[in-house]
């Protein structure tokens, strides 16, 4: 029990720091950050108060459910250059997405794949689809029905951040999970 709490502590710390990092480096993620409100403690920088906030405002939720909630709040997944597989660090979060979909067969998601501007446009359109398909396949392996997911690639046509350089490029190589 103590061990589990400890682990929860670490995970929430990680989730919080991920959100904090996102807040520093991105301007276009603000809608996601402002919408959840303060219930999960995502706006708090103090991990202690985060866990107590979470506990008090939603008394019946188990720690696992809180972890799942936090995971579902991450809807943008970034990719390395020229790589179509999602980052190993995102596996756990994506697993929570998959479980949520499998448990709610009426839920529909759209996976939107994107690429940075290097390379030709039509190749990047295909690369964006390959990235989104990587996540689609992971979902299917984890019990999601194919009919729940729509995949679309925008290639390099809808960058999250304009400009040349790795700073912008790393924000643009992504798959966005959009609830329909």
């Amino acid at each position: 029990m103590g061990n589990q709490r400890n682990q929860f502590f670490k995970v929430s710390l990680l989730v919080i720091s991920l959100f904090a990092l996102g807040a520093c480096s991105s301007t276009s993620e603000t809608e996601e950050e402002s919408s959840p409100g303060s219930e999960s403690g995502a706006t708090s920088s103090n991990s202690g108060s985060a866990s107590s906030n979470a506990g008090s405002s939603s008394g019946q939720l188990t720690q696992e459910e809180i972890r799942a909630q936090n995971a579902l709040r991450q809807t943008v997944f970034y990719f390395d250059f020229d790589v179509a597989e999602f980052k190993p660090a995102d596996r756990e979060t994506l697993t929570y997405h998959a479980r949520d979909l499998a448990a709610n067969p009426s839920k529909r998601l759209r996976l939107e794949g994107h690429a940075d501007e290097r390379g030709t446009r039509e190749y990047n359109l295909a690369l964006g689809e390959r990235r989104a398909n990587g996540i689609l396949n992971y979902f299917i392996v984890n019990g999601v029905a194919r009919s729940q997911i729509e995949v679309v690639s925008y290639g390099e046509e809808r960058p999250q951040q304009s400009g040349q350089g790795e700073q912008a490029y790393s924000r643009n190589r992504r798959v966005e999970v959009v609830t329909q």
Partner: protein
């Protein structure tokens, strides 16, 4: 004689006042070492006018833009003839000119019609090479100027001019993903007279001009999914051509205009297909789990060239239509990435986008001779893509980045001449150069 001197003097004053009109914001970024000297005398207004377009200046801009010519400054002209009797070859030889273009414009009172008479001379051989009277509406003076440029260019180089051709391209404009607007636009080859053909809040991609010059095929995300459409350029009438699952992209017309090559990923991964536009019959051309995309037709219409990353990185391949879909010939080996290829009309030289090594992340427009395997890289900017060939085969227009914005540049196929189109608002990209238009 005295009278003629007066005429000449007044001509010189006239030309000083005209010079302030002489701008069209084309930027010649690289010219050749020994351009051909040509004098383009301001056309005389015999009746009607004044006109909003300076025909002689349009011709001057055309000729200088393609880099082969250097025009004599109007302030250095010793005379301003407007018809053959007024031409004294010695005047132009003194100024070291090889060619001379003169003309005059007549507009009947109360009429919108103008008659433009031009005459073109070889100074060294002291002979008239061409001349005619062109009639059109006063709003067509720009077209008349481009038509005269075509004649001059062909008389001197032996190659038909492409100055009356047009371009299609995509513009995106807006602050962020939520507010970006995408436009398909058409303009003269030099970027003048832009016209919006389609505007959308969703991306538009891959415009491709039909061989008869009447239609454009493109990809639009207007339904939230990439689908192929054909639109009549004059009427704006459009129809959706595809609605297959997943990617529908890269439409390219066959040389005879009866088919569209395209990319569909309905069966898993992107593969090349050909759709017959009359029967709607769909033929699968490639079948490979890797990405196959960016098809283009060989000049004879019997093969398709395409890009595939089946060996790990994009390389260029060729396949014979109707042949076994596994019978694929690889055309590029010596680059980290080679993509977006199409043959010049000779069927031997292959224009493509090249990234030499993994370490140098620059993409440039190059030409590979598939017989000698010689490669010429034409551009020296870092993010060059979407090369499109002028109808006379003399220049390639492509998209690049300048000061962080998308712009259109053009380069001659020998790499000697470059020019940049006047940039409008937003990011401009994916040029498609028209065929010869009538």
């Amino acid at each position: 004689m005295k009278l003629r001197t007066f005429f000449l003097l007044s001509g010189i004053i006239f030309c000083f006042t005209l010079q302030s009109y002489a701008e069209l914001s084309i930027q010649i970024t690289q010219g050749i070492d020994n351009p051909i000297p040509v004098a383009v005398v301001p056309f005389t207004n015999e009746s009607g006018g004044p006109f909003s377009q300076d025909v002689a200046q349009i011709v001057t801009n055309d000729l200088e833009q393609v880099g082969e010519f250097i025009a004599l400054s109007r302030s250095n002209m010793l005379s301003m003839p407007s018809e053959e009797q007024e031409v004294f070859y010695r005047d132009w030889r003194l100024l070291a000119q090889d060619y001379l273009l003169i003309g005059k414009i007549n507009q009947q009172p109360g009429s919108q019609l103008v008659q433009v008479q031009y005459e073109f001379f070889d100074i060294n051989r002291e002979m008239k090479l061409a001349g005619e009277v062109l009639t059109g509406s006063v709003t067509q003076l720009r077209d008349i100027g481009h038509t005269i440029s075509n004649v001059v260019f062909e008389q001197v180089t032996g190659i038909p001019g492409a100055f009356t051709s047009q371009i299609l391209y995509i513009v995106s404009e807006g602050a962020g993903p939520a507010t970006t607007l995408f436009r398909l636009e058409k303009a003269d080859y030099d970027g003048a007279r832009p016209q919006i053909l389609l505007e959308s809040a969703e991306p538009i991609m891959s415009p491709s001009w039909s061989p008869n010059g009447q239609d454009v095929a493109y990809v639009s995300f207007e339904t939230d999914l990439p689908r192929i459409y054909i639109q009549n350029i004059a009427t704006g009438q459009r129809r959706q051509i595809t609605n297959y699952p997943n990617i529908n992209s890269s439409p390219v017309w066959s040389p005879d205009g009866s088919k569209l090559a395209m990319v569909l990923s309905k069966d898993g991964s992107p593969d090349i297909y050909v759709q017959d536009l009359n029967s709607n019959e769909l033929m699968r051309v490639t079948d490979h789990p890797a990405i196959d995309t960016e098809p283009s037709w060989t000049p004879d219409g019997r093969h398709l060239v395409f890009m595939s990353d089946r060996t790990g990185q994009p390389q260029i391949y060729q396949i014979e239509l109707g042949a076994n879909s596994y019978n694929v010939e690889r055309l590029t080996y010596d680059c980290f990435q080679c993509a977006k290829a199409r043959f010049l009309p000779d069927g031997v030289n292959l224009v493509h986008v090249r990234r030499e090594t993994r370490q140098s992340p620059t993409y440039q427009i190059s030409i590979l001779n598939i017989e000698t395997l010689r490669v010429i890289t034409l551009t020296d900017t870092a993010l060059d893509e979407s090369p499109s060939l002028a109808p006379n085969g003399s220049m390639i227009m492509y998209a690049t980045k300048f000061n962080g914005r998308g712009v259109l540049d053009a380069v001659s196929i020998d790499g000697r001449v470059k020019f940049r189109l006047p940039s409008s608002q937003g990011d401009v990209r994916e040029p498609s150069w028209s065929p010869f238009l009538n």
